[in-house]
């Protein structure tokens, strides 16, 4: 890392979170924080509780125990739309796009919380409602340009290949102008080239808009390269937390997750 990156105060802190479903414990006393402006990775073996953690953060799961502090406000749990309107946006592990809608409309939904005109004006579709619609359309077009998906603007997302769908999903999250962006395996199912693009998008969002990013990813190359700090979960417990380099050399992490370091990519990135 050539440039020294600067981060602000913690935008998000999770404290002592425990979550279980019937007999299954998904999270157990997990605490960590995310600093403003950083790229924070969450890694861990399958079923470790990473996705559950994101679900807790934006209010879909309600933890049995623990506190979440977001932008200085502490609560036991969030309401999903409350989280959304306070600037938390996310993408999903199993793509959760609105299949029947076009790319453009999908991304426009991301701006829903920002649109205010009431039903009556919308039914008439003149004056203020139209104005508002156009303003937001313009912002969305920025996002579309940014993600280079102009060509599929009007395509129903159900028809898009997997990778494109992931991109549209990112677009939808970006359209909300989030302060905290939660990404659940954004690069799964992409080839290298596309991963590079995706990393670029993530880093650009982070740079240009100062958006804080929390990201789950299994590709160690990506995680090690682009994240500032990494939390490692295993069986619902936090087993490590630190910079990529610290984590990589942590014996627990190697045993639980990375396996014997033999991955070419990992080796390669170590050489870097």
């Amino acid at each position: 890392m050539d440039v020294q990156r600067k981060f602000g105060d913690p935008i998000l802190e999770v404290n002592d979170i425990s979550l279980s479903f019937g007999g299954v414990t998904a999270l157990e006393n997990v605490s960590f924080d995310v600093l403003e402006g950083e790229v924070r990775a969450i890694i861990g073996p399958n079923g470790a509780g990473k996705s559950s953690m994101l679900n807790v953060i934006n209010g879909f799961y309600h933890p049995q125990q623990g506190m979440i502090t977001y932008k200085g406000e502490t609560r036991k749990q969030m309401r999903p739309h409350h989280a959304a309107s306070r600037g938390i946006a996310r993408t999903f592990q199993n793509i959760a796009l609105f299949k029947g809608m076009s790319t453009l409309d999908n991304i426009m939904t991301g701006r829903n919380t920002k649109m205010k005109k009431n039903l009556f004006w919308q039914a008439l579709h003149v004056g203020p409602a139209k104005q508002e619609e156009l303003e937001h359309r313009e912002y969305v077009e920025h996002v579309i340009d940014f993600l280079e998906i102009q060509a599929i603007r009007k395509t129903p997302v159900g028809r898009l290949p997997y990778g494109m769908q992931k991109r549209v999903e990112l677009g939808r999250a970006l359209a909300a102008e989030p302060e905290l962006l939660l990404l659940d395996e954004p690069m799964a199912g992409m080839n290298l080239e596309e991963k590079e693009d995706m990393c670029r998008f993530v880093l650009d969002v982070n740079d240009q808009f100062g958006t804080t990013i929390a990201l789950i990813e299994h590709d160690m190359g990506v995680v090690m390269d682009i994240s500032d700090r990494v939390v490692v979960l295993d069986y619902g417990k936090k087993i490590a937390d630190g910079t990529p380099d610290e984590v990589r050399s942590n014996q627990d992490v190697i045993e639980a997750y990375l396996g014997v370091v033999q991955d070419d990519e990992l080796a390669a990135s170590q050489n870097n």
Partner: protein, 358 residues
């Protein structure tokens, strides 16, 4: 080839978001509207008005209403008949209580009353989903109809439980009752339905429409990106019921003129409108019209063809008609599960590429 978009450039977002961004579409719609408004009224007679155009237009309005709820917001409702009854009875009570009230206002108010009833019965949708909700909405269907049938107040204490539309004028022209001229009824309904369709189209391409569709496609994700299910679902129920209520109002006021709650607003009514939107195309305003046309006209056309054309016995024709209607429904579903609207779209895409297949 015929349907070429090339060369039609849009240089601002407004024109890209226009109702019919493609010129051919614009022309097509204008021609259809021209015929409907200018030519048809000169030729229309009692039969065409009462047996064909009024049911078609009024059902189209109801279908748009249900489509907003089911096709756009994904909440399957079988309470349409009950909500139409609310519209009809509101109209009856309003015109008899305030004979001077303009009929246009009566229709709008009936819609509004139905909307509020719709919201109440929409509340369970926050918890109940899919077919469970569909069946649960039958509670509304049965309860509302029962209520209108049971309490004399709704019927103005008419001993036989029928309601009648008294003759009413707007701007000096008789619009309801048997003496109203067929073309007047037709034009009135046509104007109403066209404006409503336009408003519906506007709603579904704006924020509210998108949040409905988001709820439909994946309600959890929608909630997580900041769409309030409560707000979205209840507005869908409200707007949908508003439309259905107006349809009920016209259905009773202009078309039938008299109605009996159980018969006129029974569960068949709910199913009928549901067929229309599925056959026409869920999530399509155009589809609502196509579906309404199919379901209201097809049986009549088939009947007239078989009885007048082929000279079949009436009863045989009826049996064949029922069977054929079923066969046609199956046929179209197999050809294109997403309804006529989708078929139309595919046809357009083919036309665009014509003479090349892909």
């Amino acid at each position: 080839m015929f349907y070429r978009e090339a060369g039609q450039f849009k240089d601002n977002y407004a024109s890209d978001q226009a109702l019919f961004p493609i010129a051919q579409d614009r022309w097509f719609v204008m021609i259809v509207m021209g015929i409907a408004f200018v030519i048809v009224p000169f030729y229309i007679d009692d039969y065409w008005t009462n047996a064909i155009m009024l049911p078609f237009l009024i059902y189209a309005l109801a279908a748009i209403g249900l489509n907003l709820l089911t096709g756009y917001c994904g909440q399957v409702s079988l309470g349409t008949g009950g909500f139409m009854a609310v519209g009809a009875f509101s109209t009856f009570k309003l015109t008899t209580a305030f004979p001077e009230l303009n009929f246009i206002i009566v229709v709008l108010l009936s819609g509004a009353i139905t909307a509020s009833v719709g919201v109440v019965f929409g509340i369970p949708s926050l918890r109940i989903k899919g077919f469970y909700l569909a069946v649960a909405t039958l509670a509304a269907q049965f309860f509302l109809v029962w209520m209108f049938n049971k309490f004399g107040w709704f019927l103005n204490y008419n001993p036989t439980g029928q309601i009648h539309m008294p003759p009413r004028e707007i701007f000096g022209v008789l619009i309801t009752g048997p003496r109203a001229a067929p073309e007047v009824k037709y034009l009135f309904v046509l104007i109403f339905v066209s404006l409503c369709a336009l408003a519906a189209k506007n709603i579904v391409r704006g924020r509210v429409g998108r949040s409905w569709m988001a709820i439909r496609d994946m309600d959890i994700a929608a909630e997580l990106i900041g769409i309030r299910p409560l707000e979205a679902k209840l507005t869908a129920f409200a707007v949908s019921s508003f439309y259905v209520g107006m349809a009920g109002s016209l259905y009773f006021g202009i078309w039938l003129g008299a109605a009996e709650p159980i018969e006129a607003f029974g569960i068949e009514q709910s199913f009928l409108v549901l067929f229309m939107i599925i056959i026409g195309g869920l999530g399509s305003i155009l589809g609502s019209f196509l579906g309404a046309a199919f379901i209201t006209l097809m049986p009549i056309l088939m009947k007239n063809f078989m009885v007048d054309g082929l000279g079949l016995a009436v009863v045989t024709a009826k049996h064949i008609e029922i069977t054929m209607l079923g066969v046609l429904i199956l046929f179209f579903l197999i050809v294109e599960p997403h309804g006529f609207a989708r078929l139309w779209q595919i046809a357009k895409e083919k036309l665009r590429l014509w003479p090349f297949p892909h």
